[in-house]
């Protein structure tokens, strides 16, 4: 599972601007929101994205999933029960790197 998590983490770090939003709460919202939709897509479930924010997260998630399907064969074969394990690990690592251990001094400024 670690290598799968590494694959996805490296992809997100290299490609995804949503992880580096301006403030802690924006980063948290984006990481949780996009990965939720990624889970739906990887488990081939019907997305229920309705609000504007959910539709945006779905748009981000679709690109991520399609790219990763091309980059990593295992993405096409991952069983649904493993998806949550991998994505929970990815979420924890992204929150740790982009928020908890981030050296960005502006992350918790109350104003934009």
């Amino acid at each position: 599972m670690t290598s799968k998590l590494d694959n996805l983490f490296d992809y997100v770090q290299e490609r995804c601007l949503w992880q580096f939003a301006s403030r802690t709460w924006d980063r948290t919202e984006n990481i949780e929101g996009v990965l939720k939709q990624v889970g739906v897509l990887l488990k081939k479930q019907q997305s229920t994205a309705e609000t504007p924010a959910e539709r945006l997260h779905l748009a981000d998630a679709k690109v991520l999933v399609n790219d990763c399907r091309q980059r990593y064969d295992w993405v096409n074969a991952i069983p649904p029960e493993e998806v949550d394990l991998v994505l929970d690990g990815l979420k924890d690592r992204l929150l740790d790197v982009t928020i908890t251990r981030s050296k960005n001094r502006e992350l918790n400024h109350s104003l934009y």
């Binding site: 301006s22 050296k103 960005n104």
Partner: protein, 472 residues
């Protein structure tokens, strides 16, 4: 690898906190250049001022407004015409420059009357123009001229005009970044929501942080037209003043330059619930990704895929011709901030170019997180670089081409290193599919230009008289 203290910085060791060389297995938690911090005494910063960030970068782009600069004449000239952002109304905003031309007596006795007179004079001379930006500058801020009160009085006397004041003197921040911030927040506080836009499509968005450099906005607009999406406002490329007052009605904010304009996108999300989508508009792969995401958000995926396929068919062979000839080229990017992270992977993925050094004038730590996450190992990441550091970095990484601004570009040319204008472009637009071919062409022409080698030849040979520099 720790942060780097260059030899030229031995007397200003604080610069070590601003220069990073990425080593294997390091990430943004390992090291992050200190940025958006005051320039260290002893370093010759190449930053602009806060006023410049407001006027030259954002406000001055608006195509149908008078840009009244309340200050000495030099503040006007030095923020006029140095960027090429055309408009589809005959480039009104580039043809004219306005200033209250403050002299010593106005500083001594106050400049408010002169400002009022100048505003009336400008509107009288250009009666078809009804919108205006007024900027304070260092001296008029220091003497306490109340530009808001002056603007309010003028608007009472002239009910058909609308004036936006930007109180952002040059000294108000550490770089031009402060000016971006002040204008963003001022605009949403005072102008957004004051006019209802005419809605012409079920799909509406704002395109934020694109300033129509050599036609970027106009090129991208053709994509949005093909997708059937109404852009309520471009912030601020080729933009009308009144369109920008209607930004609150968009369903989506698409952000390119997150540094100059992320603030207004964040505020639109907070105040009006409009989600923010960050994209990269430079590069084939990135542009396709952005178009796909926008298409998915609005439920027009098929049109998006059609557009991407058409653009790839038309432009990819041309891009590949340049790629064959540019693979392995070593590139340095010394620009404002976001182009570091927008470009470092796009030139690598689309053109096979390696970015070996990057310097940001006004980027924040968020920008360095993005670029270090994307950028190569063995590459230098520099905040607020100075000229001596550039010389030393050039010796260390030996770039084949440097993308930077006109002033640094002149230095680079004297070193006989090819230079491409990374701010205002050589021959843009550079955004979009077509635009990235333009960028590739300009890079190719720069790298393979035989004139640089000829220019490096000194015909005087042994007869050359050597003049010692004072420091030698």
């Amino acid at each position: 690898m720790p942060m780097v203290l260059l030899k030229c910085d031995k007397d200003i060791p604080e610069r070590e906190k601003h220069i990073y060389l990425k080593a294997p297995d390091e990430d943004t938690n390992s090291h992050l250049p200190l940025s958006n911090a005051a320039t260290i005494p002893g370093t010759l910063s190449e930053r602009g001022c806060a006023f410049c960030g407001a006027k030259l970068v954002i406000g001055g782009v608006v195509k149908d407004a008078i840009q009244m600069i309340h200050g000495p004449i030099g503040c006007a000239y030095d923020t006029w015409h140095t960027k090429r952002y055309p408009s589809d109304n005959g480039h009104f905003q580039m043809k004219y420059v306005w200033s209250t031309d403050m002299k010593e007596s106005h500083i001594v006795f106050g400049g408010e009357k002169r400002l009022a007179k100048s505003i009336h004079e400008a509107f009288d001379e250009m009666p078809e123009v009804k919108r205006m930006f007024v900027y304070t500058t260092c001296p008029t801020a220091l003497i306490g001229d109340d530009v808001k009160a002056v603007a309010k009085k003028v608007m009472e006397e002239r009910p058909d005009v609308d004036i936006f004041t930007v109180e952002c003197p040059g000294f108000s921040g550490v770089s031009q970044s402060k000016g971006h911030h002040v204008l963003n927040i001022g605009w949403i506080d005072e102008k957004v929501g004051t006019l209802e836009p005419k809605i012409t499509s079920p799909y509406t968005m704002n395109f934020i942080g694109d300033f129509n450099i050599q036609g970027d906005s106009q090129l991208l607009q053709t994509y949005w037209d093909r997708l059937g999406i109404q852009v309520i406002a471009h912030f601020t490329g080729n933009a009308n003043y009144d369109d920008l007052r209607g930004m609150h009605r968009a369903q989506l904010n698409v952000v390119n330059c997150a540094r100059s304009s992320g603030y207004i996108a964040n505020e639109l999300k907070k105040r009006y619930g409009i989600p923010r989508l960050d994209i990269d508009s430079w590069g084939f792969n990135y542009m396709a990704e952005g178009v796909r995401k926008i298409g998915t958000f609005f439920g027009v995926e098929d049109k998006a895929e059609e557009l991407i396929a058409e653009e790839y068919a038309k432009w990819k062979p041309k891009l590949d011709w340049y790629k064959e000839r540019l693979v392995g080229t070593k590139m340095a990017i010394w620009t404002g901030g976001p182009r570091l992270w927008h470009w470092t992977k796009s030139v690598e993925d689309d053109l096979g170019v390696q970015v070996v050094a990057m310097s940001s004038k006004f980027g924040h730590e968020e920008d360095f997180e993005k670029v270090i996450a994307r950028g190569r190992e063995g590459t230098y990441y520099i905040d607020d670089g100075n000229e001596l550091e550039f010389f030393e970095i050039i010796d260390l990484v030996k770039p084949d081409v440097i993308f930077t601004g006109g002033r640094v570009g002149e230095i680079v040319k004297k070193l006989h290193i090819p230079y491409v204008n990374g701010h205002a472009y050589h021959n843009g637009p550079y955004m979009g599919f077509e635009g990235f071919v333009n960028l590739a062409r300009d890079m190719y022409n720069a790298v393979h230009n035989p004139l640089l080698k000829l220019a490096a030849t000194d015909p005087r040979g042994e007869q050359k008289v050597a003049f010692l520099e004072a420091a030698e």
